[in-house]
């Protein structure tokens, strides 16, 4: 991640239901939550944190259209213009013949495009060191991270809020 030298408050929770409630409580008290980390997806967490809705659907549509146009160009150019081929007595440029290629490339571009968009927007990659506030969030614990620089409240206030919401422990982490 690009964020460096930032101070985070890290709350560790033991239960997915507890942290889901805690997110609402802490948020309602006026704290801006940076992110929640969990070993598995928690239903309703996205809306509870209040993240803006994903735009991956729009990206998917754009990749799909790109794939479709690439296939149309590829088939028309290779089969119809550069080296016209007559197959089954059809015109070299006959769209029904091209539909399978257009369908496949639309799917291929959409799938790969979305995967890479996902990696990029989540900061995942072969050389990138992932942001890990507490390794236990990959096992049995649930982690809530609060970026102190993005909050007006004091460290002590937020710490007590997180504690009161059911956290087992709260620590400060410098990234």
């Amino acid at each position: 991640m690009t964020d460096t030298n930032k101070k985070f408050l890290v709350g560790i929770y033991d239960d997915d239901d507890v942290i889901l409630d805690a997110v609402s409580k802490v948020k309602n008290a006026g704290v801006k939550i940076y992110e929640v980390y969990s070993p598995f997806a928690i239903h309703g967490m996205d809306t509870a944190i209040g993240h803006p809705r994903t735009r991956i659907g729009i990206a998917a549509f754009c990749f799909g259209v790109t794939g479709f146009l690439c296939a149309l160009t590829l088939t028309t150019w290779t089969m119809g213009i550069d080296w016209p081929m007559v197959i089954g007595g059809k015109d070299p440029i006959s769209l029904p013949n091209y539909v399978p290629a257009m369908f496949e490339l639309t799917v291929l571009f959409t799938a790969f495009g979305m995967t890479f968009t996902f990696f990029l927007s989540n900061g995942l990659g072969p050389t990138v060191k992932p942001l890990l506030f507490d390794p236990r969030c990959t096992d049995n614990k649930f982690v809530m991270a609060v970026d102190l620089s993005k909050n007006k409240m004091s460290e002590i206030e937020i710490t007590s809020l997180i504690k009161a919401s059911g956290a087992e422990e709260v620590s400060i982490k410098q990234i």
């Binding site: 309703g44 996205d46 809306t47 509870a48 659907g57 549509f61 059809k90 029904p96």
Partner: protein, 438 residues
């Protein structure tokens, strides 16, 4: 809102089939019957079709004449219309059972809250079943090339060696036995599932659910075979010379998406009238996804069947599309392309975004498009091989659509009154009430 914040909604709902709805449906049926009568009168006076179409008719028409096929009589169009609608509505009805069965087998939880709607759909089955059986027994030769007089008899001038070669499967006794088998198995297994479900409302527990999984799975095994064979029997064997190895699942895809659209439309309409309060946006979203996905699946199969024939260009296969594009004066070209517009282009574009699948109005538009479109799917599959150049789209067609639609809504509404609108003791109900896909 998180899953834990859902308010508790009542699962006690009794659907009321109001006198108003009954009156409207009766008016609809009255108009339908009147249109059929007017249309029939026009047809009997020799109107409603263009005799010049003969000149432009494709090979198949000439072919039929060579065989000295039955002289055309206007009642044939009535019979063909009854057949189109019966096949279409029988399919929609049985998809209710199909949906329940695969949901049971997958032990799906999300659908529990609206199960009573697919559960009610097969109750319409006896009506198309009786029409189909009566037509097959008494008017089969009007519909099926292979039922023509002497077509299997080498001594007859009507003899057709290709069709005679299919006698092992396409003979009237076996055909009638198959039809009876389809309807009794489909309807019988549905009755079992339905009574298990209604009993479950009273006794609770998981025994009935376990049994329903078993009977539902038995139905899936039956339907795996009969969905294909019934598609051959109801539709494909009309064009007896022609065959497509994809026809079974092509027809299943058509029935399936039409059945899903019927379900979605019913659920959205009930919700608008204040029923099914426990059905939330996530349920609608998933139903929308179902319609969207199977719209694409149908298109995939529809196009795959076309592409293979188009590419290979074998005369005995390509004739099928020839008849629909240019044959019979080109009267089937418009329905053929309306088909792809209503069944693919409109629902595909309309249902693409997340928000649209959660918007009742857009769901309704997509569902109506699918339902109208798949009528044309069966229309283009059945009409050219039966009425050929004497086909068309007029008062008779509209009238029968109206009659069948109103009768279907009547039967389903009536069935919905027979049980609580939400299966109150279904083991998966709790999961379904909290269904949340964010």
């Amino acid at each position: 809102m998180g899953a834990h914040h859902h308010e508790v909604v009542s699962v006690e709902e009794q659907f009321e089939f109001t006198a108003d709805s009954k009156r409207n449906l009766l008016i609809g049926m009255g108009i339908g019957a009147a249109l059929v009568l007017v249309g029939a009168y026009i047809l009997s006076q020799g109107g409603g079709h263009d005799h010049d179409a003969h000149a432009a008719a494709g090979h198949a028409a000439e072919h039929a004449h060579e065989h000295g096929a039955h002289a055309y009589h206007w009642t044939k169009r009535i019979i063909a219309n009854l057949w189109v609608n019966s096949v279409y509505f029988a399919g929609i009805s049985i998809i209710g059972m199909f949906f329940l069965s695969y949901n049971n087998l997958a032990q799906a939880g999300w659908s529990a809250v609206f199960r009573r709607i697919p559960e009610a759909m097969p109750s319409f089955l006896p009506i198309p079943a009786i029409i189909i059986l009566v037509l097959a027994v008494f008017f089969g030769d009007q519909l099926f090339h292979w039922m023509h007089e002497g077509i299997m008899d080498p001594q007859s001038p009507n003899y057709d060696a290709v069709i005679a070669g299919k006698q092992g499967f396409l003979n009237k006794p076996f055909f009638i036995i198959r039809l009876v088998l389809y309807f009794s198995l489909w309807y019988g297994l549905w009755r079992v599932l339905r009574s298990l479900s209604i009993q479950e409302d009273e006794i609770g527990g998981t025994d009935n659910y376990e049994k329903a999984i078993k009977y539902g799975t038995a139905f899936l095994v039956v339907f795996a075979v009969t969905s294909s064979t019934s598609a051959w029997d109801f539709v494909m064997s009309i064009d007896t010379h022609w065959f497509s190895t994809m026809f079974g699942w092509y027809t299943l895809a058509s029935w399936h998406v039409a059945g899903l659209a019927t379900m979605t439309l019913t659920i959205v309409t009930l919700k608008e009238r204040g029923y099914l309060k426990a059905v939330n946006e996530s349920h609608l979203h998933d139903l929308g996804k179902f319609c969207f996905a199977f719209t694409i699946f149908w298109t995939y199969v529809w196009f795959a069947q076309f592409l293979l024939i188009y590419y290979a260009n074998l005369p005995e296969e390509a004739i099928y599309y020839r008849e629909r594009f240019t044959g019979y004066g080109g009267i089937y070209k418009a329905p053929f392309f309306i088909n792809i517009l209503l069944n693919f282009v409109i629902p595909f574009l309309v249902l693409m975004t997340r928000d649209s699948k959660r918007t009742p109005l857009i769901l309704k538009i997509a569902c109506w498009s699918i339902l109208a479109g798949h009528y044309f799917d069966f229309y283009t599959n059945i009409m050219p091989g039966t009425v050929g150049e004497n086909g068309g789209f007029g008062a008779v067609e509209f009238g029968f659509i109206l009659l069948f639609t109103c009768a279907f809504i009547w039967t389903i509404s009536n069935q919905l009154t027979k049980a609580n609108l939400i299966p109150r003791n279904h083991p998966m109900l709790e999961e379904s009430l909290h269904h949340d896909i964010a």
